[in-house]
């Protein structure tokens, strides 16, 4: 009786020894050299996997920085602090510090935008534009079916009383998912410290804009003439503010005849990065 125990223990013990030896040999033969820096860079990244850098996730991006010489400042959620951290790990020197970018909805039409028909169907902007480009008379305006809200993974979009999406700058990581989701290209990326916006996206002629919505840029060019630092330019009947030049003198806000240039208090970009890390 006792022999059975001895034999089985011996047999299993020898088998285990053999397999153990096999594994030991295999681990030597198939050893993969890991770059410790990849792990370090990965830890420095915010690990949100948002895809804003253009890679499939933070791990892929870390690998690309270390092994393929990718620039260390592509991470929008991490911002300049993250870029500096990565640069210090790799002993790189950052040539330019970038101001982090956030999304902004360039339309304030809301209930003022006129409808050409009542839309009944799939509640999605991309589905609504199939039917004559959407129910709004304005070809550039926000229809309010909130595809951007669905696309945002960070809960950074809220809905205003008029049913329009609004980006919560503090929460926006700059992953551009909403920019890609919007069929009308209303959402654009802006520097986080920007505070003056032309809240319209319509490139139509002034009369057509007025016909479609009372809150639209009519392309009168008054703001262009008023701006002391030439920060405003016209793009086919739409005023566009160059935020790198803007000095927030608010002269354009006062001169705009349709009150479409808005001033909002900027969020302190530096402060936000500290909050995250």
């Amino acid at each position: 009786m006792g022999q059975i125990f001895i034999y089985s223990i011996l047999a299993l013990g020898i088998l285990g020894l053999l397999f153990g030896l096999g594994l030991a040999v295999a681990s030597h033969i198939f050893h993969v050299k890991m770059d410790k820096r990849v792990e370090q860079v990965y830890k420095a990244l915010p690990d949100l996997n948002c895809g804003a850098c253009g890679y499939a996730g933070c791990k892929k991006y870390a690998d690309a920085i270390v092994n393929h010489g990718e620039a260390p400042n592509l991470c929008t959620p991490g911002g300049s602090e993250c870029a500096e951290h990565i640069a210090s790990i790799l002993g790189l020197e950052l040539t330019a510090t970038t101001i982090r970018k956030v999304a902004h909805v360039f339309c304030c039409g809301g209930k003022e935008a006129k409808l050409i028909y009542n839309y009944q169907g799939v509640y999605d902007c991309n589905a609504a534009v199939i039917i004559a480009g959407g129910p709004l008379k304005c070809d550039y305006g926000c229809m309010g079916f909130l595809s951007c809200l669905k696309a945002c993974k960070f809960d950074a979009i809220r809905v205003t009383d008029e049913g329009m999406p609004e980006i919560i700058t503090e929460k926006c990581t700059g992953c551009e998912a909403c920019v890609k989701a919007c069929p009308k290209n209303i959402i654009r990326m802006i520097p986080m410290n920007a505070s003056v916006f032309v809240q319209c996206n319509s490139r139509e002629r002034g009369k057509d804009v007025r016909d479609a919505c009372s809150r639209g840029c009519i392309g009168c060019t008054k703001c262009v003439k008023e701006c002391p630092v030439n920060a405003i330019s016209m793009d086919e009947g739409l005023a566009i503010i160059d935020h790198s030049k803007c000095i927030v003198c608010l002269k354009c806000v006062k001169v705009c005849p349709v009150q479409v240039i808005h001033h909002v208090n900027p969020v302190n970009a530096k402060e936000k990065i500290c909050q995250q890390s």
């Binding site: 050409i116 009944q120 169907g121 799939v122 991309n126 589905a127 039917i131 004559a132 480009g133």
Partner: protein
């Protein structure tokens, strides 16, 4: 409704619950030429045509005003004589706006002068085909596929059957019956012309059995012809769809992702046949088409023949206006048509009718969750599973939807019609189609 065991058909399909007031034969109403037409440059599938005229030019009826810009494209001709007053974006059906050539009529002669009738049998197949290309003929059933493309199969594919589609593509429309009853010779000879071009020996004219007068007329016309046959088909929607018609008429099934020419068949609408005959004998370009105006809120429900580019508002005013304000206007049929938001919409080569619905008729509902009853699967004429595809789309999984046969959908609307949960199946599929196209483009 006539249904007998002798009538052929396809698998699946529905019998929509129709308003008897709007179905049935409509009278013909003569429309006088309009003062103004707007002719869109994109009236066909493929590349838009390139304008040959500019603002201020004088054009005569039948003059080529835009030429095709590729193989899958079509010429466009002036439908009235007059002056070009604008070449710019105007509202059109389907797209919000599209570039149109606006012609305002002047006092010049508005009759089309074509050369004397020629015997088409003396022309070679290539000459006949060139005439079709020159006349800018596209499929007039609604899909507006340029006809000459269908007539140019690759050498490896032999076409041995040509089907004239005399089945109304959708309920309420009555234009195909009108064409067959009034111009049966044109339809038959048009079919013969296509058979000559493709060197094909068998022609079929498919007609739904609820239009016995059209069947009688066509049977009489082809009585002496051995190689053309008139087939009575079961009354069912979508009997007029290309792939369903081929199956009903010949028992051949077009493979997934394939074209009718893959099974040796070509399908053309009877109105296209009639236009082919005109182009082959006199060189008359495609400048007018017949269509059905139907609705309870319009003074008359009629068949009319109008120049391409005539505005719907002009047609409505000639018919005596509305008796009640319409709540929904549809270009095309009730199942697949596109809703309009304006009356200033021009008639294009593919417009088979306009439907006006009152407040009561225009159904409004909100989409519910799928209850897995399987009705859409039972009736889908393409034998795909709309419920499953729609669910994949709702979750944003377009790749899965593609695997489940999204591309096979002909968007006939049968599934949306039968769905007890009011699911917008076809719109979801259209949405996914567009999203996949966008992804491909990036």
């Amino acid at each position: 409704m006539v249904t007998s065991k002798n009538t052929k058909t396809f698998k699946g399909g529905i019998h929509p619950d129709l308003d008897p007031y709007l179905t049935g034969n409509k009278e013909y109403f003569k429309i006088s030429p309009p003062d103004k037409v707007r002719i869109p440059l994109q009236q066909h599938i493929g590349a838009p045509a390139k304008p040959l005229v500019k603002v201020g030019d004088t054009v005569t009826v039948g003059q080529k005003i835009a030429e095709s810009t590729g193989f899958v494209s079509a010429n466009i001709h002036a439908s009235i004589s007059g002056k070009v007053t604008a070449v710019k974006k105007f509202p059109v059906a389907i797209f919000k706006q599209s570039v149109c050539i606006e012609i305002t009529a002047d006092d010049t002669d508005n009759n089309l002068h074509t050369p004397k009738k020629q015997d088409w049998q003396r022309l070679t197949p290539d000459e006949l085909k060139n005439r079709i290309i020159e006349a800018g003929i596209v499929g007039m059933g609604g899909a507006t596929f340029p006809t000459h493309v269908k007539l140019s199969p690759p050498d490896t594919k032999k076409i041995d059957i040509i089907i004239a589609n005399g089945v109304e593509c959708e309920p309420y429309l009555d234009t195909d019956r009108y064409t067959m009853c009034n111009f049966p010779h044109k339809v038959v000879e048009g079919l013969q012309i296509l058979m000559r071009i493709l060197n094909c020996r068998r022609g079929i004219i498919g007609i739904e059995s609820d239009t016995p007068d059209a069947i009688d007329v066509m049977r009489k016309t082809v009585a002496n012809l051995e190689n053309i046959e008139v087939l009575a088909l079961e009354v069912k929607y979508p009997q007029g769809a290309e792939k369903q018609l081929i199956y009903a008429a010949s028992g051949r099934e077009v493979p997934s992702g394939g074209l009718p020419m893959d099974v040796g068949a070509v399908v053309n609408n009877v109105a296209t046949m009639s236009a082919v005959y005109d182009a082959a004998t006199t060189g008359k370009p495609l400048i007018e088409r017949s269509l059905t105006i139907v609705g309870r809120c319009i003074a008359k429900s009629v068949n009319i023949t109008v120049p391409i580019g005539m505005l719907l508002s002009d047609i409505v005013s000639q018919l005596g206006g509305f008796v009640e304000n319409p709540s929904k206007i549809i270009a095309g049929g009730p199942m697949m048509g596109e809703v309009l938001y304006s009356l200033d919409i021009p008639v294009t080569k593919g417009t088979s009718g306009f439907i006006f619905q009152t407040q009561d008729e225009a159904v409004t509902f909100s989409m519910g969750p799928c209850i897995r009853c399987g009705r859409c699967v039972d009736i889908c004429p393409m034998r795909i599973c709309p419920a499953q595809i729609a669910q994949a789309i709702e979750f944003g999984n377009f790749e899965l939807a593609k695997k489940l046969g999204l591309a096979d959908c002909i968007k006939c609307g049968s599934c949306t019609y039968v769905c007890p949960a009011n699911r917008e199946l076809v719109q979801l599929i259209k949405f996914a189609d567009q999203q996949l196209k966008k992804k491909k483009g990036l």
